[in-house]
Symmetry: C2
Subunit: 567 residues, 2 copies
């Protein structure tokens, strides 16, 4: 059994008494998932940060637009931050960029597409120029304080993905980033097995690796498998083809374009992020559409149905996305109709199952030929399964191992996998977000805890929606609200107006006047009893709330939020 960190054993927060010659690694931020969105590496006076991603919100966070990692540890140490090393351009690795770079500016290092996606984010937030973004190539080495960071080409579901070999004074740390093994990548460029193997031969102190698919045996299929399925499906399509997928999967989009062009179909991109990413990818040479093949949504009617392919967003069932609006006939430019072939090239991210299902049902109802993951291999994962994770262990042969990028149980099973591959049990550590892990040539241990976790963004507010606000929102959403308004005489506290009762989200009032009348009577009884004439307004509110709460629960077994307003 791998050892687990015992965080914060009697040590004060932020008062880190550490081995000055140790490398310190701190996963920062996350909800459920550990070591994914942002990780700090610290040696002496220098800090580098790997990834600045946003966090998937939990279902109990209504109204929250975005969740980002808590940056307070970095803010306390902002003068020591030497750079941001970004592995790839997915939201969970770059989505917090506008918030983090504004507060703690430092140079950013990333490959072409990743850089372009970060820049486009900064532009949207009117923050362009707030941090210098350095475009690097796989193979490049970046110097940042005590660290030399080497970018190593990997395969994943977005172009330009890299692992990092972080050369530190105590040894080399290999951080895989997100990866899968793909022996037949769409762009023909293999992940850099040779460099990984060479690092392994030279000696790697610590491996940190992607745990997402550790529960799955075998290998993840090549992205090309999806291309084969597309080709087979396209051969059978008689009318228009509409494909929904993640805009960021540039290689998959390219496969669709290639298959379209070989069949003389025009390509139409629909959806803001689809158009945006495709534009960037074409500018940067990641994507190629022959002249004349790209058409505008307004021109769809000018081509026969069997000469059209539409690529759009919404593969996660997002209600405002292209696919959803097309399915429900709410899209201005395109309605799905019988004769269309619709391909949903994705599997639902956990939590999205029901919204995806809703869109699939609606698509099938339109009479179109609808293909999704239960029916054909229209999607493969971007993450390595067990045998690929074993290959990584075999290549790197690390002394120490930290599983990252997964929920606790994934990290746990990944830790066990490393042990079966020969990493000594005592050299494996399962981290938690906020855990400070000290690594020297000889030892790895959890030494401390720093503030970490999630900061909620709602509209322009960052972090002002906390536990209390969420608890109120949950309470309001479950049984609604009752407001009691009473006017009391200044002198003797007798009722001069009201009680008036306003409710929202409680019952349909018109059909439940008796409950409302009962509620008014309850408040009147409390006041008429005059037992509370001497007490403070606050105490009187409590008494009214309690009496009303009891009346409503007894009557209808609900617990609405009750607010009393005394004038």
């Amino acid at each position: 059994m791998p050892k687990k960190p015992v965080p914060n054993q009697g040590r004060k927060k932020n008062m880190v008494k550490s081995n000055a010659n140790a490398l310190r690694i701190i996963p920062l931020g996350g909800l459920g998932e550990i070591g994914k969105n942002m990780t700090a590496f610290e040696y002496g006076n220098d800090i580098i940060v790997v990834d600045i991603g946003s966090i998937f919100p939990r279902e109990d966070m209504p109204g929250v637009d975005l969740v980002i990692p808590d940056t307070s540890y970095l803010q306390m140490n902002r003068d020591r931050v030497r750079g941001y090393m970004i592995t790839h351009g997915h939201e969970d690795h770059i989505g917090a960029a506008p918030y983090v770079l504004r507060e703690i500016p430092a140079p950013v290092y990333a490959t072409k597409l990743t850089s372009a996606l970060i820049e486009s984010k900064l532009k949207e937030h009117k923050l362009l120029g707030s941090a210098k973004i350095n475009v690097i190539e796989p193979g490049d080495i970046v110097e940042a304080g005590a660290f030399k960071v080497e970018f190593i080409k990997m395969s994943h579901s977005i172009a330009g993905t890299c692992a990092l070999a972080i050369h530190t004074p105590v040894g080399v740390v290999v951080h895989t980033g997100d990866f899968k093994v793909d022996y037949t990548p769409v762009d023909g460029q293999l992940m850099d097995f040779n460099r990984l193997a060479a690092l392994g031969s030279e000696g790697v102190l610590l491996l940190m690796a992607d745990s997402t698919n550790v529960e799955r045996p075998g290998y993840t299929m090549s992205e090309r498998k999806v291309g084969e399925t597309f080709n087979n499906l396209f051969d059978r399509a008689q009318g228009r083809i509409i494909i929904a997928m993640f805009a960021s999967n540039v290689h998959r989009i390219q496969m669709v374009i290639d298959a379209a062009v070989s069949r003389k179909r025009r390509v139409c991109l629909i959806g803001r992020s689809m158009v945006n990413v495709a534009r960037l990818s074409m500018q940067l040479g990641y994507m190629d559409v022959p002249d004349g093949y790209l058409i505008n949504a307004d021109d769809l009617d000018r081509y026969p149905d069997d000469e059209i392919i539409v690529i759009t967003t919404g593969s996660q069932g997002e209600p405002m996305s292209g696919l959803s609006r097309m399915a429900f006939q709410e899209h201005k430019k395109l309605e799905i109709r019988p004769g269309d072939m619709v391909i949903v090239s994705a599997t639902p991210i956990p939590g999205n199952e029901k919204s995806v299902s809703r869109v699939l049902n609606q698509l099938v109802k339109t009479g179109a030929d609808v293909i999704y993951d239960a029916l054909a291999e229209v999607h493969v994962s971007g993450h390595a399964r067990q045998e690929e994770l074993k290959l990584m262990q075999a290549l790197i042969k690390p002394k120490f191992f930290i599983p990252v990028h997964g929920e606790y149980r994934h990290l746990y099973h990944h830790a066990n996998l490393a042990v079966t591959m020969g990493v000594p049990e005592e050299n494996v550590l399962i981290p938690d977000n906020g855990t400070v892990i000290e690594v020297t040539k000889d030892e790895m241990r959890a030494s401390d805890v720093v503030p970490s976790g999630a900061v909620l963004i709602d509209g322009l507010g960052i972090g002002d929606v906390g536990e209390t606000v969420l608890r109120d929102r949950k309470h309001l959403s479950e049984d609604g609200l009752i407001i009691v308004v009473i006017g009391l005489d200044h002198e003797d506290g007798t009722l001069v107006s009201g009680p008036d009762i306003v409710s929202r989200g409680f019952v349909y009032v018109k059909e439940n006047e008796d409950i409302m009348e009962g509620a008014r009577a309850t408040v009147r009884r409390v006041l008429d009893a005059k037992l509370y004439s001497g007490i403070s307004t606050g105490a009187l509110k409590d008494v009214i709330r309690e009496a009303l709460s009891r009346y409503i629960y007894d009557t209808i077994k609900r617990n609405p939020m009750i607010l009393t307003i005394i004038v």
Copy 2:
């Protein structure tokens, strides 16, 4: 392509002008799923109802305790209801019993366990005796008006499951209920292949069949497969074994008991529904525990760890369930600890993925050996896959086919499966809830629509939570609430008190006093302008709400609900 009903083609609701000699079939109620929870069969003056189940609530129904089918059509025709035929005892087939039987009493027919579960529900609602419950055996035929209903033994994930052969004046309808094919059922009693085949030979007019697993190729494994996995796991367990599963899967519980007893482990049942169902099952002879093997949770400490098996609820990650409370160390009788083996014998029902995941992570953190569906075959479905559905078509050879029990896309694929098995395309109809399907010897068509859908139950209120209330709850949950209280002079409408502002679920007020002050200033500006002195209170409220809403959106990009109270 199978034909689809075009509901309500210009006909008035409830004004059914039907062929008096036709059988009328009406699926009633459901959210997303069709033909599952309750179905009416009507001929002449007689109605029978198949199943009276509750409906899984949708995620956008906060605070809703239970959802039941709309019974208004049955209420309008209550004198004609001759009986309820219940296929099996799962919640989605009996959960609405207390509400339906109270409103529309008629005899209920069901096998032993199903009857006992319905009775236990009625007892809980203090409604015992409100309907006569007739215990029948598989093979029995019930006469109800124009119908003869034959109960046919089937395999499913609860004991006592039956299909129905409904003998009507126009021909025989076979309704499969929920089923799978299990050649090695735990109780040794095969589903009645012979009777189904005999019906097929004699001629079946219409088949209605379970579509749940139609997207899955091949066969669902036998329940015994799970028993084999349990035996292998138990052999490896060194300490306590804790298994979570649905209380209703009596056969699976029996397999655990058998495996426990053969290893001299005592059996402890934890969880209200687990204890309740097991007690009923033992009384009825569905379950058997040798004397002395059943122990109380209070006595767990009296036995060595390797002589204990605990069977509990919570396999869906329900926060208040046995398993969840044990995992988070909140259970009074049992805390999971290192050395325990925990088996979660289920797959998440769609929508429950995240809560299951949360409990699994916590279980792994306790240091126990945690086994779940991603790691071992600890669960099999209760529903037939493609090859089993084909077997059903082959045995029954129906003239007409209606796929039921599934979302639209499942029904659609099941319709196609029937067509590939030889049912003519024009003899297949995909229903919707509320569709009236008329069937004669020669024809099947959608003839009308009656009220159907879902009735929400929150506390004691049935149906008083509708669209408006849910919309308010959603609004409140997303951006919270702001209440503005102002006192205006009776005579000249000048401000005499306030504006006071109260908020809930909006921002953390103490840290956002400036927003609150801005809000008060905004309201004051509206009133000071005196442009609205002549207008009604309602109109003034609108003006204040609009101004405040604009201020708040401009300041923080949120849209709280705004209520203005003028005294």
